[in-house]
């Protein structure tokens, strides 16, 4: 359903194979703490991700994701507490609905939906976070070609 295939690429100022720009929105309680734990365990990751800390995945306005692509992001990653484990008890349920809709919507504005991913990473899942980052960067690099 890619009407304008890879439209976002033209907005990418760098557009180099090795360098990709990825922004990640992480909830403060699970995933940001998980990313911190990955750091504490010195789990090596690619340098391409910039993390923005938000209180809850439910705080994420879908606009942020579109805005990020608009501003030239090659990929947008969202991660929050596992469903049923939200620090605010139900924020990630709302997030899940919104993010799924956004994911399905992206092809309509010409963005490959693989450029957007949402994950559930808990504060103790340092290794999972590392894996998520490595995989996501790999996918984005593949799409960028």
């Amino acid at each position: 359903m890619n009407f304008i295939n890879e439209g976002s690429k033209s907005l990418n100022v760098k557009n180099k194979k090795e360098d990709v720009k990825i922004v990640a929105f992480l909830c403060n309680w699970c995933s940001y703490a998980g990313a911190d734990a990955a750091g504490t365990s010195r789990l090596r990751q690619p340098e391409d991700i910039r993390i923005i800390r938000v209180p809850c995945s439910g705080r994420i306005n879908p606009l942020f994701i579109l805005k990020a692509f608009n501003l030239g992001a090659d990929g947008v990653l969202v991660s929050g507490c596992h469903p049923n484990d939200c620090h605010y008890s139900e924020g990630n349920f709302y997030a899940r609905r919104r993010l799924e809709v956004i994911k399905e919507f992206l092809p309509f504005i010409g963005i490959d939906k693989r450029r957007f991913s949402y994950q559930w990473v808990s504060a103790s899942e340092a290794q999972k976070w590392q894996k998520v980052v490595i995989n996501f960067v790999k996918i984005i690099k593949e799409i960028n070609g």
Partner: protein, 1131 residues
């Protein structure tokens, strides 16, 4: 804007990967940045002083520290910024350690990333605004949920600290799991001896309010101001009065399996949970209204009188019956017994023969002579008139007369009894029996005036206005025939069922000749047929338009009728009644088939075309239905309204009120034709309502009270009383066989058909009762309680309490080991759980402290203990370690040796886990006692020659092991307490993978939850032993006392804020807020929302939901995040 940036080396943690100096240089180029500096350790005191100094010297208005994660040092730096006079919310951190230097090796790229991260933070900090926390009062009361050792410790420490504690315990006593234990490790001191003084302290502490049998149903608010809603179940005992003398327990006829004794003993329905229970008072375990009782329209406590029959207290049983229904003799013969239909026993084998048990006690009393008078209250000198002496009228007269009213009953016929006398044939209800029960009412002083028909409404009003009656109860029944609407209905020898049965009773019809056809399928049709047969009919045919399944007559009656030779023609209906010379000669009948369901829920009969046939008859009895005769209500000057279905119109249905001037109605006149018991129920209700009315209560109040009373009844459904496993475990015993008069001896006379049962068989049948509601409400305990402590009127209460903090100490449950079929599941009686073994060893346990096998009561000599049954076993149980089992098995092995010196114990273990003070020494002691530790699992246990063969493997020597044991003890996993998930939802706290409550931090905040103000103690957080639970109890207490030492609390200003101008009051935010922190307010003709700052937790769900950006979260506004994104895009 003057921004100062401090870039941290963090020793070599950052410095080794990031060129810190370069970063400090680069960031100076960003707009607004006026100062940058590097520090070796920014978080150290010199580092913090540098920040303070720079703020002052360079007039900084924003501060950024680029160092570790904000989760580590945000608060440290905020305090430093604040002490330099800058609002701490103008500070931000850039995480260049955990998310940069620690995860990258490429120095160039890591340095570039650090610069970019700081650039994003600079953009965010532009938008930071000064924020100020607010103060709010905190409530200094504390709620402790759970009365186990952890909760007890927390409560006592907090109460000793001078704060009020409300302890909520769901059982009838506090004590929890520890109360069940015999001895405790590693000191082998008696569990009860060290626990009960603490329990007593809780009971008498002036600062502790103990609420037993209570559960939390709702929690609102947040730290400092929680509002708790508690459901308190009735104990049915006044705590103030009960002296725990135990007399009640001796007379209680019901016992049930004790959960406290781990299923090894039974306890009475009125009992104490255990000897040392606190509060030291009895408790009646009443689960509600048993299915038999709740299905009875008259609310007769069948389980109660059955329990008394078991105890041979027959007269007491009758007395109990008459409290709800004055006609045990009559009802034992004619009731449709819905109690038997709903009897839970029918799920096991067959329902209890409740009606015949009743018949037994009623007949027992008759043999003794006349029915004793009930206790009568003092005369009230008020008069009540009752119209109609059927079951409704007579019941009302009985209870009103008992209350002390002067009652006069007006009866149209020459004898009292209504349908009981004229509608039910002699062979089912002998007149002698009816007369005896009516005589009782007469002996009580009720005047029954026969041959006194009330002919019109004027006469009713005359009773009220001229004759001095204070209230009138209309109970004239439903005795008018419904017409079949066929030609020939008026022929001679065509008679209605009602008229036929009455005329037989009045001896107007003494003989029936030839062939009789009865039309209808109800009890009246069966009664008419059997009566006609007894009067000499050659052949009796019943024609019913539907099939046997839909037939409303009682199944036993149908069976009896068929036995007597009555023919029932199903799916057949008359289309014409033909006659000659005015006398009936034949019926024209048509065959039906069943179609769609009709409004009554039964299949509609549809005539089959061309299937008509002739049937010659001599007498046709039309028993197709009755309706109330309401002529007298609708004639006269001040008439009463009658509904379409011919029943009287009521003003207030719930209290049977016809007219506010004290006119009531009940029975068939209101319901249309119904059962005797329905009429009795109405009579009883009318008596209750009329009594309240005459005592001067307003009708609205009476109605409200009746509705409330109905609503508060807990009705048990047969399916919910027992689990399927429990039902399967009951021994199957067939229902008592009821003897009847042989067919050839009964079809030519009116002798009673059903025989009474013997005492011996009655008791046997009564023993089949499963005691569904546990307490049978037989009221025997009330009779012996000298302290007057028993109060059956206690109702479930909803209590609200306000507290500032909550301790959750709900403990743990035990894993059901039945899934381990290889260990015998439920089949092997001598494979028991460790908690059962604990009870067997306990001196106050079911065996008085003697270890015995459950199968043969023999003392076991070879005992095998299995650890990790359900623990550390992903395939069948839980993957975690239950923490205490290794230790208590060592204890049980030591104690076994002390109880039975010539015994030997084997412990199969996975790994011995004994980390704790004196713990490993304790395990060594067990070994010194001769306990054989075998490292390995058991694969199978089976029975052979009276021994349990335990097959396993010793993994240390890789050899199979086989032990012929006498007893096997399983150490089951500790699992989260039942309903702990629901409580988590109520409290808004989280549960982990296995359902235990999650602490805020596994190392640094072990007793806090992520919901401030809620703390965890004991095994609800994870499996743990007593010392650890006690330590956690005290830890929560110290946390709470520290909290309570403040007079006011600060709010976190990271809360949502509403733009009052933009808000359109769509309430979307209100629906998504998980904390109910948003409320609707009126703002000059406009509905908008407002954030309750003390409740808001700052998740920002509302901001992402608001369709018009009218609500934003301080510290994380859309603006800030979009600025960060813009900064992200620069590079």
């Amino acid at each position: 804007m003057r921004i100062g940036i401090f870039v941290c080396y963090c020793g070599s943690n950052i410095g080794a990967t990031v060129d810190v100096e370069k970063v400090a240089q680069e960031v100076l180029k960003f707009p607004g940045v006026v100062f940058s500096q590097t520090n070796l350790y920014t978080c150290s005191e010199p580092g913090q002083n540098q920040i303070k100094k720079a703020i002052k010297e360079h007039n900084l208005t924003r501060v950024i520290v680029a160092s570790c994660s904000p989760r580590v040092h945000n608060n440290t730096f905020m305090r430093a910024v604040e002490s330099a006079g800058l609002n701490p919310y103008l500070f931000e951190m850039a995480n260049i350690r955990e998310q940069d230097s620690w995860i990258h090796d490429n120095r160039e790229k890591a340095t570039q990333k650090a610069i970019e991260l700081i650039r994003m933070t600079v953009s965010k900090v532009y938008k930071n605004r000064e924020l100020y926390p607010k103060y709010f009062d905190l409530n200094k009361n504390v709620l402790v949920i759970g009365g186990g050792i952890a909760g007890i410790q927390a409560a006592l420490d907090i109460a000793d600290g001078g704060k009020k504690v409300i302890m909520v315990e769901k059982e009838s006593s506090i004590g929890g799991r520890m109360a069940q234990l015999d001895k405790t490790f590693p000191t082998i001191d008696c569990s009860a001896c060290i626990l009960s003084p603490k329990m007593v302290d809780v009971g008498i502490h002036e600062n502790i309010e103990l609420l037993t049998l209570s559960e939390i149903v709702n929690v609102e608010g947040s730290i400092g101001n929680f509002k708790i809603t508690i459901k308190k179940k009735p104990r049915y005992i006044d705590l103030k009065n009960c002296t725990a003398c135990g007399e009640c327990e001796k007379v209680c006829p019901v016992s049930y399996t004790s959960i406290f004794e781990a299923g090894l003993a039974r306890k009475k329905a009125i009992s104490k949970m255990f000897t040392q229970a606190v509060p030291s008072a009895y408790f009646i375990n009443n689960k509600g209204k048993a299915p038999c009782r709740s299905s009875c329209p008259a609310d007769v406590p069948a389980q109660g009188y059955i329990a008394l029959i078991r105890e041979k207290k027959y007269l007491e049983a009758l007395k109990l019956h008459r409290e709800e229904n004055p006609f045990p003799s009559i009802c034992s013969r004619v009731c449709t017994h819905p109690c038997e239909i709903s009897c839970t026993r029918s799920l096991v084998d067959e329902s209890i023969s409740i009606m015949n048990l009743k018949r037994f006690i009623a007949d027992y009393e008759l043999k003794l002579g006349e029915i004793p008078l009930p206790e009568m209250k003092e005369k009230k000198f008020k008069k009540v008139a009752i119209i109609g002496s059927g079951p409704a009228g007579l019941t009302a007269s009985y209870y009103l007369s008992k209350e002390g009213y002067d009652v006069k009953v007006f009866e149209a016929f020459q004898e009292a009894g209504g349908m009981l006398r004229f509608g039910i044939p002699e062979y089912r209800l002998p007149s002698k029996i009816l007369n005896l029960e009516i005589d009782l009412i007469k002996r009580m002083g009720v005047e029954i005036k026969t041959n006194s028909e009330i002919k019109n409404s004027n006469e009713i009003w005359k009773l009220k206005e001229k004759d001095g009656f204070d209230a009138v109860f209309l109970a004239t029944g439903a005795n008018k025939n419904v017409s079949i609407q066929l030609d020939g209905e008026n022929l001679r020898s065509v008679i209605s069922g009602v008229d036929f049965l009455r005329d037989v009773k009045l001896l107007k019809i003494k003989k029936v000749d030839g062939t009789v056809a009865v039309i209808g399928g109800g009890n009246a049709a069966i009664d008419s047929s059997r009566t006609a047969l007894r009067l000499g009919a050659k052949e009796v045919n019943i024609f019913y338009r539907r099939s046997l399944e839909e037939m409303p007559a009682m199944k036993e009656e149908i069976k009896d009728a068929l036995e007597e030779g009555i023919k029932i023609n199903y799916l057949t209906a008359p289309v014409a009644i033909n006659g000659q010379d005015g006398k009936v000669t034949e019926l024209i009948l048509i065959k039906n088939k069943l179609g769609e369901l009709d409004s009554s829920g039964r299949k509609k009969p549809v005539p089959v075309k061309g299937s008509e046939y002739k049937f010659p008859v001599n007498l046709v009895i039309l028993a197709i239905g009755q309706e109330p005769d309401t002529n007298y209500l609708t004639t006269g000057d001040r008439t009463f309204e009658v509904l379409k279905n011919k029943s009287i119109k009521l003003d207030k249905k719930n209290i049977l009120l016809v007219n506010k001037d004290g006119i009531f109605a009940g029975g068939d006149l209101v319901t249309g034709p119904a059962t005797v018991t329905d009429a009795i129920a109405h009579g009883k209700l009318a008596a209750k309502v009329i009594n309240k009315y005459l005592e001067g209560n307003s009708l609205d109040d009476i109605e409200a009270e009746i509705i409330k009373e109905e609503g508060s009844k807990i009705r048990l459904e047969p399916e919910e009383v027992f689990t399927k496993e429990a039902l399967d475990s009951f021994e199957k015993i067939s229902r008592i066989f009821i003897e009847k008069e042989p067919v050839n001896k009964r079809i030519n006379n009116f002798n009673e058909v059903v025989h009474s049962i013997s005492e011996e068989r009655a008791i046997k049948e009564a023993q089949r009762c499963l005691n569904c509601s546990i307490c049978s409400e037989c009221h025997e305990c009330i009779k012996v309680c000298e302290a007057n402590a028993i109060n059956y009127n206690q109702k479930e209460e909803i209590i609200t309490k306000e507290v500032g903090a909550i301790v959750v100490a709900t403990g743990t449950d035990i894993f059901n080991t039945d899934v381990y079929e290889e260990y015998g599941g439920k089949e092997l009686k001598d494979v028991i759980s460790a908690i059962q073994y604990e009870r067997l060893m306990c001196a106050s346990g079911p065996t008085g402290g003697h270890i015995k096998r459950l199968s043969d009561n023999k003392e076991p000599k070879k005992i095998v203990f299995l650890s990790c049954v359900g623990s550390r076993d992903k395939s069948k149980g839980m993957s975690y370690c239950s923490a205490a089992c290794c230790m208590y098995l060592a204890k049980q092995a030591i104690l076994t040796k002390e109880h039975i010196p010539d015994s030997i114990s084997y412990i199969f273990y996975t790994d011995i886990r004994s980390p704790g003070k004196d713990y490993d020494e304790f395990v060594m002691r067990a070994k010194e006692y001769g306990t054989q530790y075998i490292r390995g699992k058991v694969s199978k246990i089976y029975k052979k020659d009276g021994k349990l063969i335990v097959k396993g493997v010793d993994t240390l020597i890789s050899e199979p092991v086989e032990i012929d044991a006498d007893l096997v003890v399983l150490a089951p996993a500790m699992i989260p307490a039942k309903n702990s998930k629901q409580l988590a939802e109520i409290l808004n706290i989280t549960t982990g993978t296995f359902g235990f409550y999650t602490e805020s931090h596994p190392k640094l905040r072990p007793v806090e939850t992520n919901t401030s103000g809620i703390y965890l103690a004991g095994a609800c957080q994870s499996p743990k032993d007593i010392p650890e639970s006690v330590a956690q109890g005290s830890a929560t207490a110290s946390k709470i006392l520290a909290l309570m030492s403040k007079d006011k609390l600060l709010t976190d200003p990271i809360v949502a804020k509403v733009d009052q101008v933009r808000c359109i009051g769509c309430n979307k935010c209100l629906f998504v807020c998980p904390f109910n922190a948003i409320e609707e307010v009126n703002l000059i003709n406009k509905k908008i929302v407002k954030v309750i700052e003390s409740v808001c937790k700052g998740c920002g769900l509302c901001e992402a939901t608001c369709p018009i950006d009218a609500i934003s979260l301080n510290g994380f506004t859309d603006e800030m995040i979009l600025e960060e994104l813009e900064a992200f895009s620069i590079f």
